[in-house]
Symmetry: C2
Subunit: 118 residues, 2 copies
Amino acid sequence: MSLTESLKKITDDIPDALGIALVGTDGIVVEEVKRGDSLDFQSLGAEYCIIFKEVERASSSCALGTPLEVSIVSNETTVVMKRVNKEYFVILVLGSEGNFGKGRFLLRKEIVNLQKEL
Amino acid sequence: MSLTESLKKITDDIPDALGIALVGTDGIVVEEVKRGDSLDFQSLGAEYCIIFKEVERASSSCALGTPLEVSIVSNETTVVMKRVNKEYFVILVLGSEGNFGKGRFLLRKEIVNLQKEL
């Protein structure tokens, strides 16, 4: 299965998914799947990569372990970032909080395929 | 109900909760409830306050809405930060991912009481 197919498998199963992207830890987007044009994954990847690194720093400094997943629920969207391996993570953007659990479940399921492909 | 009682109500209901704190947006801890001495909420409050602000900045820059909740699942702990109002947020630290859903549910339920008390 291609990277795009693996990513599409996640968004296809979530009615309000706005998009998903595979991003390097340098913030550069490797692959993306979007519904509509509302998401700019180039900016999003760069911005949320900084956040993930900030979270890693804080987590290490407070002895809270190695972060695997960061979720942000806002009044308009829900963003789930999940580590694929040392070099990549996935950013899933949902249009509401309603499918937060389903999004996490599908990410967890599909991450194994992504790991194989990378 | 006092602030401490409201916070304790959440940790009492979660077997693996390590602690909870009410923190100002300046990173200063107002009230905290801990199990054991493993958590240093003074550092944690300061560190995670920076993260919340970074998330707000990124979310605004990517037009993803106003962040209400940030969760970090790591290999050792799960941290849930939730906005109480413009000036305060709550940081809940769990010993595993097992009670992530319950933690979010109890936070949501108790946040109304915290809002009344502040």
